[in-house]
Amino acid sequence: MKTIQFREAIAEAMSEEMRRDESIYLMGEEVAEYNGAYKASKGMLDEFGPKRVIDTPIAELGFAGIAIGSTMTGNRPIVEYMTFNFSLVGIDQIINNAAKIRQMSGGQFKCPIVFRGPTASAGQLAATHSQAFENWFANTPGLKVIVPSNPYDAKGLLKSAIRDDDPVIFMESEQMYGDKGEVPEGEYTLPIGVAEIKREGKDVTIVSFGKIIKEAYKAADQLEKEGISCEIIDLRTVRPMDRKAIVESVKKTNRLVVLEEAWPFGNVATEITYLVQSEAFDYLDAPVVKLNTADTPAPYSPVLLEEWLPNSNDVIKAVKKVMYK
């Protein structure tokens, strides 16, 4: 094993796959000469050259569409969005073309493409730069949505995403790029659509994904001291969701808290809540609690941002609530 940063895991995954398959290229703003806005493509221009590591002007709609079009002649592009907030300018291409070309053509054209970049908040970036659209993309048939929470998962899942023959939304975080973690020296991939129990426990199930899961870890550490055992499930893939892992865990613990950094209305946590009430109703000892951001655009002021985001204290309170403590 070796210890690397999250950004290095991303670069390694892309580079290893590009060495394996000539049809893969990386395209986006600042990905080449600047080495990536967050240095997630460091060194790749030097290795692969400007034909395969391609800087674009600020034209998220245009380059998304060109990349999607190139899948129809056999390419397997990786498109970097500097943040998924900017994907909104190009979302028509993702929803109406990438997600639908296979279906609309009756299966004639596949669309193997990865859109990747950071999602959700990253410090005091305020309203337009702090949004999480996992549920928007996950709502769309034709797409897959992956949101890893550590370098090991990121590398293994990104390699699988690049090899996948369907369009994949791969969401990272500006605040995770510097996170360090162990990865194997050699080649490995992780399966899409499989959650992982990050911590085993018996009293409460906490389901989360992406960087906010760290608040669950903090809460679980504290709760352990108080004699409460939390099982933490990292979804890793939001679509397709590992429904079985969630239901089985709830059948064991009988209590569920869902932690998701997103607006509360109709989000991924809502879907999980529906799933659990429909498939584990008789196992539940308490109503499910979901923890999300406040139902407002992200505020700038540090005091307000702290109030807006769900944190480990919220998780502790939620766990105690479902335990009636």
Partner: protein, 332 residues
């Protein structure tokens, strides 16, 4: 470009007439409610397709367009029976009945759709050309759209990127005068759409879109430029659609006189006049072609009528390459 011979004129006449009659049939069966959804007809614009096909290398060149897309795949080589069946929502349709009128595709014949969002296919067309350049192919992509799409941001982003990356693509604006019910004049401060290319230093120009000879000559120049590495061209084809935007269009935005003016320069009539004038065929020969076209259209209708509807699993199987779909169970 191959010379425009007697045979070409006769092919043009039969092809264009077939496209016209094929769509007239679609309009008829639409009224009978055998074809549903939206139906956008190409009637009047046939010279653009006929001229384009003559200039293309149909062994490798590609085409993508918007939702007025029934006859282009036929021109590219797709069996018209399968196009008709798609509009009937039948399993034998080009997309197994999943796409309908606006979404005709044929990978085999390099027809890349059939796209329902105005301007959404413009970057895709450049992307197909990007892929060809990437893989070292000398194929050229014709990326077609209407005058309405010329007002979308996607056009401008794509023009810029296509010039920046020198892509082998010909951008084709089929200006039929109206974006649904809004005339070109009402959508910008000038009506010369081809001039939009000039800001990107893209070779651009207007073309008489009612005359297949003029169309073929303009396309030939543009396609050869792209094939030789000279990058994109933007052509504005001045054309006209006789029918409404779709079948529900009452056409109150234009006069009957205006439509009649264009019928005087009808592309099919223009070709027929040359054929008769030059003695390429007799009135009798023309009648024989007309009869053949009518029979071929009837065969399409019969095929579509008699084809089965799709099995329900097709709906799930088409969404992903991944096999275990749906992820979420549907009905109880």
């Amino acid at each position: 470009m191959q010379k425009i011979t007697k045979e070409v004129y006769l092919k043009w006449y039969e092809d264009m007439l077939f496209w016209r009659k094929f769509e007239d049939k679609l309009a008829a069966v639409y009224i009978q409610q055998k074809v549903r959804g939206f139906l956008h007809l190409y009637n009047g614009q046939e010279a653009v397709l006929a001229g384009a096909l003559h200039a293309m290398d149909l062994t490798k060149d590609k085409m993508i367009t918007a939702y007025r897309n029934h006859v282009q795949p036929i021109g590219m080589g797709v069996d018209p029976k399968r196009v008709m069946a798609e509009l009937y929502g039948k399993a034998t349709g080009t997309s197994q009945g999943l796409g309908g009128s606006m979404h005709i595709f044929s990978k085999e014949h390099r027809f890349y759709g059939g796209h329902g969002i105005v301007g959404g296919q413009i970057p895709l067309g450049a992307g197909i050309a990007f892929g060809d350049k990437y893989h070292g192919s000398d194929a050229v992509t014709l990326c077609c759209f209407g005058d309405g799409a010329a007002r979308q941001g996607s056009l401008h982003e794509t023009f810029n990127l296509a010039m920046l990356w020198n892509l082998p693509v010909v951008f084709v604006c089929e200006n039929n005068g109206y974006a649904m019910g809004t005339s070109v004049e009402r959508t910008a401060n000038h009506g010369e759409i081809w001039k939009l290319g000039l800001g990107y230093e893209m070779p651009s120009g207007p073309v008489d879109g009612m005359n297949p000879v003029k169309v073929a000559e303009a396309f030939d120049e543009a396609i050869q430029r792209a094939r030789k590495g000279g990058g994109p061209t933007f052509l504005e084809l001045k054309t006209y659609r006789y029918r409404g935007h779709s079948m529900s269009d009452a056409q109150k935005y234009r006069t009957k006189d205006e439509v009649e003016e264009y019928r005087k320069i009808d592309p099919i009539t223009q070709v027929k006049d040359v054929i008769l004038e030059k003695g390429y065929a007799s009135e009798e020969d023309i009648k024989a072609i007309d009869k053949r076209v009518k029979e071929r259209v009837s065969e399409c209708e019969k095929f579509a009528e008699e084809s089965p509807f799709p099995e329900k699993n097709v709906m799930y199987d088409a969404v992903y390459e991944q096999k275990d779909y749906p992820f979420i169970p549907h009905k109880l």
